[in-house]
């Protein structure tokens, strides 16, 4: 028994060593920094220990703006993208002709380079001296006035960000959901059909519970992914996110470390820990809710 234990630990050692050095240690470090006031990474010195970093971050209007942006992004894009993906996958699995073509089209954004996607959104939304962008063209057809989506009002920018995020995460969700739908045994549908079950009821009482573990997985990872949004925002609005009022929590952390206002690892650490706490809380709530609605077999 003892010998086996030793062997087991030995096998685990490489993974534990890597995780320890590159994940656990930095995590603990971040946690410590977040309580060290005025930590300087060059001289490795700090003034004192306390909760001042947290109090600073929580009173920083930029941070509050970032929190607000992040929450809006999360709570708009996760339900919309998951619902839309579900709708499209159900549609995809109920058609026969051209199914592969549609599947390919829906999956294209997933294999497309981010910069290329950014370019597409530029053409769609960006206002330049020569053109107002495709979106404005369509709005003007309906008699609306021109809107600057990239440099204009807050809601317009938020709309573009949400639109972009939904569009980017959609393919993966569709892929996963289509395979989940395909794995529901035909017998259940046949049984329901013979019993005269309506299409809607088949969907809500059979399909949804059967794919609920997958759906739940997508919601959890969707929440976590959206909370960590940063690069997409940069791709759309450039690096000066605070000025654009479009910063996210991760963006704030980055700015505190390297940005124009950079050089504040203590504030960055505190913000990172706050983000961690938020994600943890939301995930726990998700888990609690899922206990009732997710059916593992």
């Amino acid at each position: 028994m003892e010998k086996n234990n030793l062997k087991a630990w030995l096998y685990l050692l490489p993974a534990i060593a890597f995780l320890g050095v590159f994940m656990v240690y930095p995590l603990i470090d971040v946690f410590i920094y977040s309580f060290e006031e005025g930590y300087n990474s060059a001289s490795q010195t700090f003034f004192g220990v306390g909760t001042y970093n947290y109090s600073y971050v929580l009173h920083d209007p930029y941070f509050l703006q970032a929190v607000k942006n992040t929450f809006i992004l999360v709570f708009i894009t996760v339900p919309i993208s998951t619902g839309l993906a579900l709708l499209i996958s159900v549609g995809l699995s109920s058609i026969k002709a051209l199914k592969n073509l549609y599947q390919t089209i829906y999956f294209l954004p997933y294999v497309t380079n981010t910069l290329a996607v950014g370019l597409v959104f530029m053409i769609l939304f960006k206002k330049t001296p020569y053109t107002d962008g495709l979106a404005n063209l369509i709005i003007s057809w309906f008699g609306g006035g021109s809107i600057d989506f990239i440099g204009g009002p807050y809601w317009a920018k938020m709309f573009v960000l949400c639109f972009y995020t939904v569009w980017v995460v959609l393919p993966f969700k569709i892929l996963i959901l289509t395979s989940a739908l395909a794995s529901v045994r035909q017998d259940y549908y046949n049984a329901a059909k013979v019993d005269g079950t309506s299409k809607l009821r088949i969907f809500t009482r059979i399909t949804l519970p059967m794919i609920s573990p997958t759906l739940f997985y997508l919601i959890i990872t969707g929440f976590i992914g959206a909370f960590k949004a940063y690069s997409d925002v940069v791709a759309l609005f450039g690096t000066d996110l605070n000025a654009a009022e479009m910063n996210t929590i991760v963006g704030y952390v980055y700015d505190m470390l390297y940005g124009n206002s950079g050089g504040y690892p203590s504030y960055a650490s505190a913000a990172a820990i706050i983000l961690f706490a938020i994600v943890l809380t939301i995930t726990c709530i998700n888990l609690l809710v899922s206990k009732k609605h997710v059916h593992y077999n």
């Binding site: 259940y188 046949n190 049984a191 013979v194 019993d195 005269g196």
Partner: protein, 370 residues
């Protein structure tokens, strides 16, 4: 209040497009015409790929026939979608909804009722308990299907099919997922439930013993064609061709190559029966295991291999060069004495247990005894 219905199939045919590129069609069900009398238990029997499951799917409306008609009672249902046919279907793997409890599973078909048929929750629960009592699972109503044994799941599936009082109950290989002991028990159970409800029931099986033991009527099928329809014992005693004779009975019928010559039936050089009414020709001779009589002066000599004693009966295993089966099994009473040292064992045959079949068409040839 049970509606008892006969089921009529008229020239029912189902063709599937072939999977290979050359085209052509696979005829799963070929020109079926038969009538299932009301309130009876009918077994569709045949080897895999004979079209029995397709027939069941046509009956319940999950598949549409290529041609032909289906009637429930006087009403044609050929083009009626599955949900309007009022059939109950029990799937081979039961297809119980894993996320619902037993009660929720049984109630499920009732909750689909709309308009004037809509039932209150109390009535639904009452009906569910009624049918659960019938199949003896009323103690398990709060469990999930995964917490039940195979036999219990089977009962839940039957209860779910019965709860809406179907006109016809269809069972697809109902016993194939159960172990041997449970299979015996469950088939009695199906028989009992069918008797109590009086619902016209059709079940599909590849197991002839299963079909023989509980059916009022069996339909033997092969390659999409009905071979024979009748009461189990009649079909067993009076098969129309070699396939039916071979398919029914355990141990299976012993088939020999033989010859009819001058009003005698020969196996090898030995004349085993005096018959008349059959022209001289080579034939297949089928002898049921219970058709042998141990006799030292017997007409048929076989090479003795071994004895298998199974309680009441003794099964003599022997070989014969003209036999199509690898071994001959003959069942004799356990009081018979067999000399195990002897090389050859001699039998007489019971004329009623001997059938002869044409070498070319494999159809049965009827003969008279002299």
């Amino acid at each position: 209040m049970v509606i008892i219905m006969k089921v009529v199939l008229q020239n029912l045919t189902k063709k599937f497009p072939s999977r290979n590129k050359k085209g052509g069609e696979v005829v799963a069900v070929n020109d079926f015409t038969f009538e299932i009398p009301d309130g009876k238990l009918v077994g569709l029997l045949g080897p895999s790929g004979c079209g029995k499951s397709t027939t069941l799917n046509l009956l319940c409306g999950l598949q549409k026939p290529t041609s032909g008609k289906i009637f429930f009672g006087e009403d044609e249902v050929t083009n009626l979608p599955a949900e309007h046919r009022g059939v109950g279907l029990v799937f081979q793997n039961y297809a119980l909804y894993p996320h619902l409890t037993v009660l929720q599973n049984i109630i499920f078909p009732l909750q689909n009722l709309k308009g004037k048929d809509k039932l209150s929750k109390a009535v639904m629960t009452e009906k569910a308990y009624e049918v659960a009592k019938l199949v003896q699972i009323d103690e398990l109503m709060d469990r999930k299907p995964s917490e039940l044994s195979g036999g219990q799941q089977q009962r839940v599936a039957i209860a779910r099919a019965l709860v809406k009082m179907p006109k016809v109950l269809l069972l697809d290989e109902p016993l194939s997922n159960l172990d041997a002991r449970l299979r015996l028990q469950t088939r009695e159970e199906i028989r009992r439930i069918q008797r109590e409800t009086q619902i016209t029931t059709v079940f599909v099986t590849h197991d002839q013993e299963e079909a023989m033991s509980i059916s009022d009527m069996i339909v033997v099928m092969k390659d999409g064609v009905i071979q024979q329809i009748g009461k189990p014992q009649e079909v067993y005693d009076d098969p129309v061709n070699l396939f039916v004779a071979k398919f029914l009975g355990t141990p299976p019928i012993n088939v020999f190559r033989g010859e009819v010559k001058g009003d005698k039936l020969y196996i090898g050089q030995e004349a085993i029966l005096d018959i008349q009414g059959v022209a001289d020709q080579e034939v297949y001779v089928g002898i049921r295991p219970e058709g042998f009589i141990l006799d030292e002066q017997g007409a048929l000599g076989c090479e003795l291999s071994r004895l298998e004693v199974m309680g009441r009966d003794v099964s003599v295993v022997s070989t014969h060069p003209a036999c199509e089966n690898t071994t001959i099994r003959s069942i004799i009473g356990s009081d018979s004495k067999v000399d195990l040292g002897a090389k050859t064992i001699r039998f007489n045959v019971k004329p009623g247990k001997v059938d002869i079949f044409s070498m070319t068409t494999q159809e049965r040839i009827h003969f008279e005894l002299k």
